[in-house]
């Protein structure tokens, strides 16, 4: 404990120098801005800034780049709530109820909830990293291919079981997403699947293009259908800050989301999106008023937002303690460290303690700055909604297109944006939800990959999923969820609870 205080003290002494505070602020400010622009992601921004950061000290560089990353998580939820435009996989969950709240004139409380939830989660996750980084890294290593497969199986089954509306439609959406996820070169054989000979498709469809299309562009199409109705809905904004009742409702979801996010964020791969979905599922499951979910339940914003921010922060653990990046942003951060002459890995914590603890301490400072920065901005963001739609929507489409293209400079991402915008519109008209589609799209290919990898290692022996304790537990949990859905008694109750919209 004394050690911890000493270490955090060292971290604070690094993070609280005027220079580092300034660059931490610049980082979170820039992060918020790029987060707000749909599609423009932290990966491209951090990569562009790499050459500049070479001139800084390693700690300053990392503090600023980390600030961009978690600042973008904040900003990303802003557009998800205001415009149904998730830029990151995890904020697609926030869009479900956040956007509904905005349409009901409660954009202010939704944004404030996201900010407060993220701040709390960020603070807790900072301590989690400080105290548990090495043991958590060891726990992440216990996850081999069979465990990942079982975890994702559980995730997909939960998505179907607790989707809003009909199970058949949710299942259909997951499978459709899964099939679109299969497009591209097969990792194991190098063979191209469903690419129709188009080379640009051999790396698969770009997540940002698909997500922005199916959520955001589809929403624009739907709004344009009836412009008068939209303006009427948005102009009656009621209150910018959450009420006392709102605050009471979000306390527990924030706590639970933080816990889930801290734990799942450590896992390389789909950690943070699973965390956001899991948090949403849990909140809906234990809520006394599950029928509000999908209609603008504030818990549906608080839980996933906290989970997503906690996960964003704990995803630093594998990089800082093992030297393996958990997601593309961490891969760019790894590049930044190497440019500084610091080799990411187990040695960082002992060889560069000022860097390690300085970055961790700066995360807390950065999160505090984000709250201070974002709470006053809520009024401004909400006023954005009163801009006439014929001015707003071309701007949104332009940013979405620039953002999607900038990721890989691939013109097919623009086609995907248009195609999935149209598809998303059709799906909305058919009463099918895009969220299970997106989860299937992200997790499906990963699930296939882990399944095949597990079977290659076991030489085709399927029992690996049951003989490894962690994997067996996850499979058992998935079976329980399936039972709950299909046992008649429960199913009846479920129908009553999730009545299909017509």
């Amino acid at each position: 404990m004394e050690d911890l205080l000493g270490n955090l003290g060292l971290g604070m002494s690094v993070a609280l120098t005027g220079y580092n505070i300034l660059f931490c602020f610049l980082g979170v400010l820039l992060g918020t801005l790029i987060g707000v622009l749909p599609g423009v992601g932290p990966v491209a921004t951090i990569a562009m800034l790499l050459p500049i950061t070479v001139e800084f000290s390693p700690a300053t560089a990392m503090i600023m780049l980390a600030g961009i990353y978690y600042g973008a998580q904040y900003g990303g939820s802003t557009t998800a709530i205001l415009m149904n435009m998730p830029g990151e996989p995890s904020s697609s969950v926030t869009a479900i109820d956040g956007y509904k709240m905005a349409r009901k004139g409660r954009a202010g409380p939704a944004l404030a909830t996201a900010a407060l939830g993220s701040f709390f989660a960020g603070t807790v996750a900072t301590f989690v990293i400080a105290v548990f980084a090495p043991p958590l890294a060891r726990y992440a290593l216990k996850f081999g291919p069979p465990e990942y497969f079982s975890l994702m199986l559980l995730g997909l089954i939960c998505a179907v079981a607790l989707a809003h509306g009909s199970v058949i439609k949710a299942l259909g959406m997951v499978i459709l997403g899964l099939l679109f996820g299969l497009i591209g070169a097969d990792l194991f054989s190098g063979m191209n699947r469903f690419t129709f000979g188009i080379r640009e498709l051999s790396d698969g469809l770009n997540f940002a293009a698909v997500a922005v299309g199916i959520f955001g562009i589809a929403e624009i199409l739907r709004n344009l259908e009836n412009e008068r109705e939209r303006d009427a809905v948005i102009t009656k904004v009621t209150g910018l800050m959450p009420t006392k009742d709102d605050l009471k409702r979000i306390v527990w979801p924030i706590l639970r989301g933080t816990g889930l996010g801290s734990l799942l964020g450590v896992l390389p791969g789909g950690g943070s999106i699973l965390a956001a979905f899991a948090a949403y599922t849990v909140e809906k499951r234990i809520s006394k008023t599950p029928e509000e979910f999908g209609q603008g339940a504030i818990e549906g914003v608080a839980g996933p937002e906290s989970a997503n921010n906690a996960g964003a922060q704990t995803s630093f653990i594998p990089l800082l303690t093992l030297g393996v990046p958990a997601n593309p942003v961490m891969a760019v951060m790894m590049g930044a460290m190497i440019l500084q002459g610091i080799i990411p890995g187990p040695a960082v914590i002992t060889r560069n303690p000022d860097l390690f603890w300085g970055v961790i301490a700066s995360m807390w400072i950065g999160n505090a700055m984000l709250v201070i920065l974002n709470l006053p901005l809520i009024g401004l963001w909400v006023r954005l909604l009163t801009i006439p739609y014929y001015v707003l929507f071309p701007a949104i489409i332009a940013f979405a297109a620039i953002g999607s293209y900038s990721i890989a400079s691939n013109e097919y991402d623009l086609y995907a944006l248009a195609l999935f915008g149209a598809l998303g519109y059709v799906l909305v008209r058919l009463g099918c939800e895009p969220a299970p589609f997106l989860l299937g799209f992200v997790l499906g290919p990963q699930m296939e990959e882990h399944l095949r990898r597990a079977l290659i290692i076991s030489r085709g022996d399927w029992s690996v999923f049951m003989t490894r304790p962690l994997s067996a537990t996850l499979v058992a949990a998935a079976a329980v969820v399936l039972l709950i859905v299909f046992v008649p008694q429960v199913a009846k109750k479920r129908r009553a609870v999730f009545q299909e919209e017509t």
């Binding site: 990569a47 070169a185 593309p328 290692i457």
Partner: protein, 323 residues
């Protein structure tokens, strides 16, 4: 007589024009296309190099990541770009191996590009999971042969450096091993650290930190001499095996780029590689800048040709194609 005079005048004028063009070159920012995602080892090399080349050229070198199809999408972009030296490609050994790995390429490996020069050659290392019961290269080979039915070798997908090195290793020890592909070196390293797969061959860029802290077992380094960063890892030759391999990187312009521009770019490349900060940052990646003789169009051209010849039979024997 008259005709040759005209020819001489035309040649003279075009030479002057070309030189004049080269004197103006570069008049604006240069785009250096990296055919892989930001943050990877190749991207890092490009950013270090681009910054230094830009200082010599007096213009910014902008890195653009054109990702896809094992690097061939980015290469195709450069092959079709304007032949003015403002669009360059930084790629590695994949330029030579994709010539065989891909049966249909949207460009001609040998004729679509004007080589500028070699940049660096990153050594490879063979590493194993922490609990792998083998102490050195011969122990590893014994273990692999004895447990051929269960042993697994990780790689980062068809055509990756780790895949190429694995192929070479298998042909060297005359033993096929079950390979486990990953989408990149990062996840493969995670499974090595967690004892999920047995061993892998990868660039020092990613393995050095793990070797330095003893989180993985290291069996050999593929360079001719031991590396300063990991002095305890022995070379293949020291352990009685002929196994040399490096992931060389080069810079190309589209073919048809004026010779004077190519010459100017080669000078900028040589300037950058001689810079101390560049050498220091390459050292952090456990590699070194290419020499002035290697950083020339002729050296890169020869490298591509010899490497195509080296890998063609190996890839064809393995029967692995990327399309």
């Amino acid at each position: 007589m008259k005709r040759s005079l005209v020819a001489a005048v035309i040649a003279g004028v075009s030479l002057v024009a070309s030189t004049a063009y080269a004197q103006q070159f570069p008049a604006r920012a240069i785009t250096l296309i990296v055919p892989f995602a930001a943050g990877g080892p190749t991207d890092t090399v490009a950013r270090v190099l681009g910054e230094a080349m830009g200082r010599d050229l007096g213009q910014q070198v902008v890195i653009e990541n054109v990702v896809g199809a094992g690097g061939t999408t980015g290469a195709a972009r450069v092959a079709n770009a304007a032949k003015d030296g403002y669009t360059l490609l930084l790629w590695h050994i994949g330029m030579a191996t994709s010539d065989t790995l891909y049966r249909r390429l949207p460009y001609q490996t040998l004729t679509s590009f004007a080589p500028i020069g070699l940049v660096t050659e990153v050594p490879m290392t063979i590493i194993g999971r922490p609990r792998l019961p083998a102490a050195d290269l011969n122990g590893l080979v014994d273990y692999v042969k004895k447990n051929a039915a269960t042993v697994t070798m990780a790689n980062a997908g068809v055509g990756s450096a780790s895949h190429l090195c694995g192929m070479l290793f298998m042909s060297q020890i005359q033993q096929a091993v079950t390979t486990v592909p990953y989408p990149g070196t990062g996840p493969a390293m995670t499974d090595i650290l967690g004892d999920q797969v047995d061993f892998m061959c990868d660039q020092t860029t990613t393995t050095t930190p793990q070797i330095q802290t003893g989180s993985v077992k290291a069996f050999l380094v593929t360079s001719a001499d031991r590396l300063d960063q990991i002095p305890n890892v022995r070379t293949a030759k020291e352990q009685g095996m002929n196994f040399e391999l490096g992931i060389w990187h080069g810079v190309w312009a589209p073919s048809g780029t004026p010779p004077a521009v190519v010459e100017r770019l080669t000078r900028a490349l040589q300037f950058a590689l001689a810079e101390r900060p560049v050498a220091q940052r390459f050292a952090a990646l456990a590699t070194a800048p290419s020499t002035k003789e290697e950083a020339t169009p002729a050296a890169l051209d020869a490298k591509v040709k010899s490497e195509i010849a080296r890998w063609k039979p190996l890839i064809q024997a393995a029967g692995v194609y990327a399309d």
